[in-house]
Amino acid sequence: MVSFIVRRIAILVPMAFTISALIFFASRLSPIDPILAMIPPDMASDSANLEQLREELGLNDHIVLQYLTWLKNIATGDFGYSLQSGQQISEILALRMPATLELVLSALILSTILALTLGLFAGAKKGGIADKLSRVLGVVGIAIPDFFIGLALLNVFAYRVSWLPSGNRVAPGQVTLWDRFPNYILPVATLTIAMLAVLIRYTRNSVLDTLNRDFVKTARSKGVPEWRVLYSHVFRNSLGPVMVLLAFRLPLLVGGSILVETVFQWPGIGTTIIAAVTASDYPVIMVVSMLIAMVILFASFLVDIVKSILDPRVRLGGGN
């Protein structure tokens, strides 16, 4: 197991370097002067200083050296400055990241619980209510753009009946988490429904697969009660592929809620990215892509570990 993990990490390191290099050099293709990303905007207005700063900051150095410096800065938490607002990017992230995490994490957890429950019932009783429901959800849910779900919910619950606020994470006067709770309902519901469709189809297939396996027949013929067959034989064994899908959804934690955040004016990473792309704010785009790439590498590492625990052949077979 240890050697397997070491081998996986050995693959991760060069990949992390390749991605960061891609991001760095791609951003250098843009017409924006990189010095603006490295100093606060008030310093940038002084053009005499600029040349000296350029020298001091190493912008006249060889490009490979610059890349290494950039890496070092990122590693030490110095992400540079946003071109648009002049704020430090680390500050922006610290401000915006929690909003997105709250949103996506709750939706991820909710959709997983719902999908697993529905998927299990659907698979267990083909043609039953749960099965029909999950089939309709699986087919229709994929066809509907997720922001449309958000707009429809907004129209009904925020405007027609005004039960819930129409957006924003915190309104003036809301102090405790409980005060803010209503703000979360619509965005989280939208994201949950959006994430549900694929997961439900997937769980249902996985459960149906497992039901066809020999050990389920054996358990049934042994006279094991049906609920136990379902729980300890079917459910647990169909969890594997679902776990893999979930691990691959981790990157959504950073960038999976752009549309929903836009619909509900949610001050998270998603709206930050939109603003950055609209204004060609490359430093912000670079840092966010780096962040997502790192989460992805971590997720794929996690998937390999989960897989190797579920199926020792992966570990022994050398991976590829």
Binding site: I11, M15, I19, A26, L29, V139, V140, I142, A143, I144, P145, D146, F147, F148, L151, L154, N155, Y159, S166, G167, V198, R201, Y202, N205, S206, L208, D209, N212, P241, V244, L245, F248, P251, L252, V254, G255, G256, I258, L259, T262, I273, I274, A276, V277, T278, S280, Y282, I285, V288, S289, I292, A293, I296, A299, S300, V303, D304, V314, G319, N320
Partner: protein, 308 residues
């Protein structure tokens, strides 16, 4: 030679017959054909040009005169929604074709050659696949700029993985077949074996991936244009029509401005997915068995990683 041609024809005939006996394919094809016809004859059906401005009749709700109402400038929504389909479907189909081309070439090469090349392309595809699609698209858009052609290029560059995985998987099993051994014994060149002899056998997953990608790209276009970063607003697409809903007042009071475009997207995508499901059943009876089918779903739906 003559005989062979006849065989082919009859295979095609069997394929069409099976397809027409497959309920989901028939429903899907009907939906798609009706919507494409509506898009082509948008002006004739609605009786108004999509760009015809009539400010006095702005923001009218649906009525017999304007079945889907009018927008803030008094333009007829029916005409706009129907003709918006032209660009959206065009983008979906062309981008899906290009993405399939990339995926097929990479999948065929990696699947046949295996080894280091395969490992590298596989890792890249895994990476692109796990990257939240919209963010990847946004990064490319910020580098390339907006416009229909750029949107198509970006979709092709970010959406080839499904096809790649399916084709690669097929090549993995096919490269050990007897006819490939024979090819190698004859001393055929690698490109000839890969593209002339094995590739035709992998047509069915490619066709299915083509339909699935159309659906994915049409939804992606909607999202991108909704954010105002896709096709320039001057061209009506389903996504561009939805941009109106960025305004809370529109969400509240002028529901017809966003419900109808969104419904068109949903119905068209539903149709495409039905066709995809039908094609999968018809083209490859093997995949009717549950286990195999779920493997396909991994690649098609899950957009998820390594199936080593």
């Amino acid at each position: 030679m003559q005989k062979k041609k006849q065989d082919r024809q009859s295979t095609a005939r069997i394929f069409i017959r099976n397809l027409l006996h497959n309920p989901s394919a028939v429903i899907g094809l009907t939906i798609i054909s009706i919507m494409i016809l509506c898009a082509v004859f948008a002006v004739q059906i609605s009786g108004v040009e999509p760009e015809y401005i009539d400010p006095i009749n702005g923001r009218l709700g649906p009525s017999l005169d304007h079945l889907m109402g009018t927008d803030q400038l008094g333009r007829d929504m029916l005409s706009r929604v129907l003709s918006g389909g032209r660009q959206s479907i065009y983008i979906g189909v062309i981008a899906s074709f290009l993405a399939n081309l990339i995926g097929t070439v990479l999948g065929a090469t990696a699947g046949y050659l295996g080894g280091k090349i395969d490992a590298v392309v596989m890792r890249v595809s895994e990476l692109v696949m796990t990257f939240p699609q919209l963010i990847l698209v946004l990064i490319f858009v910020s580098l390339l700029g907006q416009g229909i052609n750029n949107v198509i290029i970006v979709f092709a560059l970010t959406g080839w993985m499904t096809t790649f995985r399916l084709v690669r998987g097929e090549f993995f099993s096919l490269r050990e077949e007897a006819f490939v051994e024979a090819d190698r014994a004859f001393g055929f060149s690698k490109p000839r074996i890969i593209f002339r002899h094995i590739l035709p056998n992998t047509l069915s997953p490619i066709v299915v991936a083509f339909t699935i990608n159309i659906a994915i790209f049409i939804i992606a276009e909607a999202g991108l244009s909704f954010l105002g970063l896709g096709v320039p607003v001057t061209t009506p697409t389903w996504g561009n029509l939805l941009t109106a809903a960025q305004n809370p007042v529109v969400v509240d009071e002028y529901w017809w401005l966003w419900v109808f475009p969104a419904m068109s997207i949903a119905i068209f995508v539903l149709g495409v997915n039905f066709v995809g499901d039908g094609l999968r059943d018809v083209l490859d009876p093997r995949h009717k068995s549950l286990i195999a089918k779920s493997k396909w779903k991994v690649a098609l739906l899950g957009r998820l990683g390594s199936k080593k």
